[in-house]
Amino acid sequence: MDLLRRFARGEIDAFETLVRDHQSHIYAWIVRIVRDPGVAEDLTVETLWRIYRARQRFQPAGNFAAWARRIATNLAIDHLRRSRSEQSLLAEPAAAPAPDGLLQQETRDKIRQAFCRLPVKLRVAATLALIEERPHDEIADALGISVGAVKLRVFRAVRILRRQLAHLGITPGETRT
């Protein structure tokens, strides 16, 4: 009997194999959304636990990775809604400076703050599409929406960001120092 069928029947050995095969991918996906490695680890454990609890709803002929990614995405979005995790994003640049320092630190902080103020749905779509450069179909699958809806969310995020940055006196195309 194949692994996914055994997992759906509740065999813990099969689930262990799936966890070991997929935990890195699930973690990598969650950390891209929440941008905090510690939180991402906790959410990965939570995701895997929920996957195990929902095993009877899984169709063994289906795509386990895509199913897992969708559960992970929902959990990550819930986390962002609860925490409005501005701190984790604001704490990031010390560990990860801008690639070639084209923007001044103050400008980067303002852009980051404006980004954090985006509605969570738009922020997640923009994070995955613009920052992490994930394909639109992958994002759509994870969010459970169409590719068109992903593009619309990214477009709306860009428009809001552009407006907020203009309000702060920042024009992205002219901010090089």
């Binding site: 891209r32 801008a98 084209l102 400008t107 920052i131």
Partner: protein
């Protein structure tokens, strides 16, 4: 023309964002299976709210119509 402006707008915001919120490429540092197993052991499957509702409704029926217990037992 409009599409080109939209693409240009998105590219500029993308560049500014990637400098301000750099892409993250963190690798998982430990095996999470022990933590998952612990969670499975300490959090047994929760009973859904509709199961509790069914139990409550059944108890109410048995309290107000005790003869239903026999009907229920017959169908078990």
């Amino acid at each position: 023309m409009r599409g080109h402006m939209k693409e240009d707008d998105e590219r500029q915001i993308r560049e500014a964002l990637r400098q301000s919120v750099p892409p993250i490429d963190a690798e998982l540092r430990r095996d999470l299976w022990p933590a998952v197993l612990r969670k499975i052991d300490t959090h047994p499957a929760a009973i859904a709210w509709y199961d509790w509702a069914l139990i409550g409704a059944s108890c109410a029926v048995f309290v107000f119509f005790p003869q239903m217990i026999l009907v229920f037992a017959y169908h078990l």
